[in-house]
Subunit: 335 residues, 2 copies
Amino acid sequence: MGHFDQKLLPTAADVESAVARLKGVAVRTPLINAPVLDERLGARVFLKAEILQRTGSFKFRGAYNRISQIPADRRAAGVVAYSSGNHAQGVAAAAKLLGMPATIVMPDDAPKAKLARTRALGAEVVTYDRVGGADRAAIAEAIVKERGATLVPPYDDPMIIAGQGTIGVEIAEDLDKLGLKPDIVVVGASGGGLAAGVSLGIKSRAASARLFTAEPKDFDDTLRSFVRGERVANEKITGSICDALMSNTPGEWTFPINKELIGQGIAASDEEVGAAVRYAFNELKLVVEPGGAIGLASLLAGKLDGIVDIRGKTVVAILSGGNVDVEMYAKLIAG
Amino acid sequence: MGHFDQKLLPTAADVESAVARLKGVAVRTPLINAPVLDERLGARVFLKAEILQRTGSFKFRGAYNRISQIPADRRAAGVVAYSSGNHAQGVAAAAKLLGMPATIVMPDDAPKAKLARTRALGAEVVTYDRVGGADRAAIAEAIVKERGATLVPPYDDPMIIAGQGTIGVEIAEDLDKLGLKPDIVVVGASGGGLAAGVSLGIKSRAASARLFTAEPKDFDDTLRSFVRGERVANEKITGSICDALMSNTPGEWTFPINKELIGQGIAASDEEVGAAVRYAFNELKLVVEPGGAIGLASLLAGKLDGIVDIRGKTVVAILSGGNVDVEMYAKLIAG
């Protein structure tokens, strides 16, 4: 996608097109209800298990929706992406399914498992010095120019957003089968692609649903941008266990959607995220990476208290990813 | 239930009654398909995620089916059970839902998490010295007599078997929605209650399905009993990481069913089970305890090679439980 253009913002119709494109390709992940969590929160709680998606995170959806629309004459030149990890794997897997080469620009301090898995999916990995301030976008652009490849951005793209939106449609459909509507949906935000997509998907099916972004404390740029009414940046660029949620500002394409359809955010500390990862291990038997647990963490830590009464409501959180290093996971579940 | 009586063996009709009894009470657990596992095994593989059942294992189903049929005048005296862990939690949770007191006789070397969780479900826990050879059945019987309580055996009971059988019905129903029939089903066996129930449930819906029990190496009493045509015991009583699969012999009630409907078994080593637990962490993002991974372990280790060609087939394994101590889990996933 080129530069931001208000007129090209994705709509619910783009999400429906993505649903058709991903049918039989993406895993239709289960919407999990656990009685033990319902009891704890006093609500009917559903967890969209995107940890069970191809490559262990939701990122495959947007990547496949984007890459499958690359014209035939540009496919041989392949795709390029930059990512802290999950988008990398999503792009690599989608390109592989579509028979296209993929080059991924990744921070050299990304979790080892994410680097290894991206390579295992057949992608070429180019690392850069994130903390030192190297410009990953510039590195990716250079490769794009050199090879004539197509850049697949992590979130700031209408087709990426529409692909993530299929999650919202599936949530609404699965709840509908149970005779339910989502009252409250908590969705993690980094660049905001998941949040924008899910809000489009959910709102078109259940207009009364109230959505909230969830972010790591100190990396709550979306929350603060909602308050300010414009995009603001985080001061920190490192220092959260949520390695998947460290974008510096809300996206150009994602923020207008999230501002309109969500507009409110909550944030949780590393300790609260760790407690949620541990809770998912002990009580839910699900492996969730820190960034993927931000919504659950916010609910368990009562971050909606005083904002909205969730008791008796149908509440949804998205377990957005499960790619976590063994060492960090062992530490987190030990508490 | 009283002494064994061939005429009282549970049937597919008893499983159907259990389906009605458990509706809206047990979690209808998802049947998970992971493309990465399909590729690895060259088959269409489905995992019945009983790790997502109430209390983290399938045991709740049989326990609830049994306890909910206790006559009104005997409910106040409560229930008693003996168990290495998962049955304990299943009984405690079922009794709690039905408003009945529960006393559980557990080995003093059971995983700490299982002891703690059983108490957390409101049950009274009485421990015994398993390795020293204390007779847990006798201890439970003494409590039954003293209090007039009802004994809920772990597997050797028609209603327990019928309750576990609801898993088989759900597998067949969920595959049917996808236009599939189960070709091969691998089900873990200890006392054989899960295997007997699942075989009743599956065979009534998909008569051509071929079932196999899976057991830990050196604790493969069911496999050896199939070969001998009669119930034989294990020589060892300790020494497997599969703490949930250490019954000494096949059950009196379960074996006739398993002999007729299954008749073939496979076994996997502790190393192979550990590899499956690790695979489930890395690739499936599911927390599975060693005993709960025995079917997956057998498939990953190729234990069906030379017995049946699974390529292109619809293959089902049951992830029967996910209650594992943090320390053991951290060790297993580190490899």
